[in-house]
């Protein structure tokens, strides 16, 4: 037991370590008046120079939102959110259009550097095009030319609304309708910016696409809107990573991500989420209420979600797949780590509508401190979906006597040819494994790291190379002292 006690102590130490990315940059920003009203939405829309149809779309969502109630079914608790006491638009000020990195506000560049996003180096070395979002406006987009050659559209959402209205009109809200849920509807009304990706038929995107989100402005909820369309036979891998500076006030983040995969297309969407989780007393931290959904619209299409969730005070997130096309496939790989007073309620939904559709869910929850970690998932097989396969595995690891882990799967089958398997386990780090490692001279901290890494291995393997390193680092930071 001594080993475990030490582990618990080392995990507790994390609290005393300052949040590594807890700094904020002082940049003048232009923001909407505090509060939410039709005027706020008109302000945002005007700022974005949006066409009338876009404004109407937003307003319609806003009017619907007013009639909706905040969901309470998740296993999370937080003080009521005052939606009138937040700013819904905030943009870093910039004087003119920028042609190169040199023209970018050096303070911004400095922030990126601290975050570990070396834009300049990335251009040269990493080969990753970055659409960096600082607060709400996409400031710099690189590698545009190269992507343009392949016919790939990768741009800020606001730009897509102006330049590719026909695509936006066709797909926006087609996966997550404005009426979907409370937070998605709110997002539809006030979304500030995000990424838009379109991969033309038969194109394999020449590089991994990546966006770093960052919440910087005090009291600014961020409402990202991402729309990715992979046309017939195309492939794209999209990376999303998040860090946020330390704040005392809770900040609301309600993003919407929509993915559309046509015939034979494949979308791989990876997330590393490391927003401020609140301090060791559960004060502050981000509220992360995200709606992510992929639509396997075409036959033989595939959508794969991979997430590493280490941050946020409260997480409410269920990346889902609608398996509409015959022979389509959905995957969900997740690591959710919670410490101190963090609350995570996350999982996925696999909706099998087409024939021969298959899905795979691997979820690893690690709870430490006084945190609460819930897996909530749905696997649903509709009547006409023949020969469906699903495999679900949810494992939870508990570190310390005060954390909690819950598993809430919903399994619904209306077709006899479907084969659905679900298994879940909950346990702590095995004394025997620890003993085995220590006996061979592995220090305790490293041993715990080894075991936790082994526990997460199935998921870490799914991450693109560029992300795997960062993800491992984050696993380390989240359980710092006991891991790595």
């Amino acid at each position: 037991m001594a080993a475990v006690r030490e582990t618990v102590e080392t995990v507790d130490q994390v609290a005393s370590d300052k949040y590594k990315y807890g700094f904020s940059t002082d940049i003048e920003s232009e923001r909407a008046p505090i509060g939410l009203s039709e005027d706020t939405i008109r302000f945002i829309s005007a700022k974005k120079e949006e066409p009338d149809w876009m404004l109407e779309w937003r307003l319609e969502a806003y009017r619907r939102w007013l009639t909706m109630e905040e969901p309470t079914w998740a296993k999370v608790s937080y003080p009521p959110i005052d939606f009138q006491n937040a700013y819904y638009y905030s943009a870093p000020k910039q004087s003119a259009k920028l042609n190169s990195l040199d023209e970018v506000d050096p303070k911004l560049l400095e922030t990126y550097k601290k975050l570990g996003i070396p834009l300049v180096e990335q251009q040269l070395l990493a080969g990753v095009a970055v659409d960096a979002v600082f607060d709400s406006v996409s400031v710099v987009t690189t590698f545009k030319t190269k992507l343009a050659e392949a016919g790939v559209i990768f741009c800020p959402f606001s730009e897509a609304v102006r330049e590719h209205p026909e695509l936006v009109k066709k797909y926006l809200g087609s996966v997550v309708p404005t009426s979907d849920n409370y937070y998605a509807t709110l997002n539809s009304a006030v979304f500030s910016d995000g990424s838009f990706v379109y991969i033309p038929p038969g194109v394999r995107c020449p590089m991994e696409l990546s966006t770093y989100f960052r919440i910087n402005e005090k009291q600014t909820g961020q409402f990202e809107r991402t729309l990715i369309i992979a046309d017939k036979g195309s492939y794209v891998s999209y990376l999303e990573g998040c860090t946020a500076p330390q704040r005392d006030e809770n900040q609301l983040h309600a993003a919407v991500v929509e993915l559309v995969a046509m015939d034979d297309a494949e979308i791989k969407y990876s997330t590393v989420q490391n927003w401020f989780p609140g301090d060791e007393n559960g004060k502050g931290g981000i509220y992360n209420f995200v709606t992510k959904r992929g639509d396997c619209r075409g036959a033989r299409s595939k959508i794969s979600w991979t997430q590493v969730e280490t941050g946020s005070a409260v997480t409410w997130k269920y990346p889902s797949c609608i398996l509409r096309g015959d022979d389509s496939r959905g995957e969900f790989y997740s690591i959710a780590i919670s410490n101190n007073y963090q609350q995570v309620d996350s999982g996925t939904k696999m909706i099998h509508l087409g024939r021969n559709t298959s899905s795979r869910i691997i979820s690893k929850g690690i709870a430490a401190g006084r945190s609460s970690n819930t897996y909530r998932g749905l696997v649903s097989v509709h009547k006409k979906a023949e020969n469906v396969r699903n495999f679900t595995q949810c494992d939870s690891l508990l570190i310390g006597p005060r954390c909690s882990a819950h598993t809430v799967p919903y399994i619904e089958s209306k077709n006899p040819t479907a084969i659905l398997e679900h298994e879940a386990t909950t346990s702590k780090i095995s004394e025997e494994q620890l003993f085995y490692c220590r006996q061979r001279g592995v220090p305790e901290e490293e041993a715990v790291a080894l075991i936790v890494n082994g526990f997460c291995r199935d998921v870490l393997q799914q991450l693109p190379m560029e992300f795997a390193v960062e993800a491992q680092k984050l696993v380390g930071i989240s359980l710092e002292g006991s891991v790595g």
Binding site: I399, I411, E412, S413, K414, N415, L420, H422
Partner: protein
């Protein structure tokens, strides 16, 4: 509020004075409180998370279910189709207690009980000091307050008290026959003192009634080291609605083994609430279900590890044919400090037809770290390769299917610790095929 719910409230107002234990102040208050809770909640519907897949409110709908009358004449047992259910437990040496329309028929019951075993009517039990804590069970508010309905309206039942160290020599068989349409609200109270042992069989059958509602609650309290085996067969009429709840509180080192076979009723829901109160206790909550036509069968099971060092096992097997629907909602709760808990939960379902549907929600809710908890759930059809294997050895397809389904259900029967009862359950499963084959032929 639905007509059915209003009807229950009116029944209470009308019959309050005639209900057993009417003179007891604490019980009067308890009933009034329960009725209030029921009236506020109404009958459970699908918008309640615990009733997500079963709509009792709709099933009872506008039915005006008056209390079924107390018949004093002869009761005709069901016909050949239910031969196996009638015969179940018949060859086992046992004490038989007969209920008709949810009312105790002492003229049909005969018992010579060993020393230390006291069997009484619900009315008498309610006057005993040991019974009170059972009626004040804390799980009442769970699962949409349906137990509250029973608390308010409970009309008859038995109280079984077994003194310290005493054993019930042969199983107690409670036979519930539905002779007339209407509603029955039965409450059985079972208290086993330290080291006591008992086996209880329960059969629920129709004997003339068609449209009826059974609201059945069994409250069990096990003392230190006590052991109870409970085997239940539910084979109600095709239009009946059967709602049964088992609540059990387990003291240290006690052991509960509960099994429930569901074959009948248009809609059935069988709820188990098991709470560990002392360390080293063990609970087995198992069941098997075989449904056809448009039957709907729901098993709801909550195992609450409130103290350390207890183990629980749950296995539910479901076979669904035609347009039937099966539901399993289970939860293992491990409270803070309930270290060294070992909790397992498994549910398997076989869909035999294109129109059958299964919904499963096996939950884990864990607040302690040094535990071993797992659950599994599978839904699928009969293995085509296994059928092919058997057919290639000269076994015709219906027989091959029956063999495989029997083997599937047998895993659940295996958990019943009483050998003769186990054999009867197997016979019942075989008769289900026969009945079923005749129906579909």
């Amino acid at each position: 509020m639905t007509d059915a719910a209003r009807n229950f409230i009116e029944t209470y107002e009308r019959e309050r004075a005639a209900l057993p234990g009417a003179g007891l102040a604490w019980l009067g208050a308890r009933r009034a409180e329960a009725l209030k809770a029921f009236a506020e909640a109404g009958l459970p519907h699908r918008r309640l998370e615990d009733w997500r897949y079963t709509d009792l409110s709709r099933a009872l709908g506008g039915a005006t279910l008056s209390p079924a009358p107390l018949p004093d004449g002869a009761v005709v047992l069901p016909d050949a189709a239910k031969r196996a259910s009638v015969a179940a437990f018949h060859d086992i040496d046992r004490h038989v207690i007969v209920f008709v329309n949810g009312r105790l028929r002492s003229d049909l019951s005969g018992t010579k009980l060993p020393a230390g075993v006291t069997l009484m009517s619900l009315g008498n039990a309610l006057n005993s000091t040991w019974a009170r804590p059972l009626v004040e069970t804390k799980v009442e508010a769970q699962a949409g307050n349906v137990i509250a309905l029973n608390t308010a309206l409970m009309r008859d039942g038995i109280g079984l008290h077994i003194a310290r160290g005493a054993k019930l020599d042969t199983p107690l068989h409670l036979l519930f026959l539905a002779n007339d349409d209407g509603a029955s609200h039965v409450r059985n109270l079972v208290r086993l003192e330290e080291g006591a042992e008992a086996t209880i069989f329960e059969t629920h059958l129709d004997a003339g009634a068609r449209n009826y509602f059974v609201d059945h609650v069994t409250d069990v309290s096990l003392g230190k080291g006590a052991a109870l085996t409970h085997v239940k067969i539910q084979d109600e009429a095709a239009d009946a609605i059967h709602l049964a709840s088992l609540t059990a509180e387990l003291a240290a080192s006690s052991k509960l083994s509960s099994f429930s076979l569901t074959l009948g009723a248009k809609l059935s829901r069988s709820q188990s609430f098991v709470t560990f109160r002392g360390e080293g206790a063990e609970a087995h909550v198992n069941g098997a279900t075989a449904l056809s036509g448009t039957q709907h069968g729901d098993h709801f099971c909550i195992v609450d590890h409130a103290v350390p060092n207890c183990s629980s096992r749950t296995l539910f097997k479901t076979v669904l044919d035609n347009a039937s629907t099966g539901v399993f909602q289970g939860k293992v709760i491990v409270r803070p400090d309930a270290q060294k808990t070992d909790g397992r939960q498994m549910t398997n379902a076989l869909l035999l037809s294109r129109d059958a549907a299964m919904n499963a929600k096996p939950e884990l809710e864990i607040y302690a770290d040094d535990v071993q908890c797992a659950h599994g759930s599978t839904i699928g059809e009969l293995n085509r390769e296994a059928i092919f294997y058997l057919r290639s050895r000269g076994i015709d397809e219906p027989t091959a299917r029956q063999l495989l389904i029997s083997a599937f259900l047998d895993d659940a029967f295996e958990t019943v610790p009483h050998e003769a009862a186990r054999d009867d359950l197997r016979k019942l499963a075989a008769s289900w095929f026969e009945r079923h084959r005749e129906k579909t032929a």
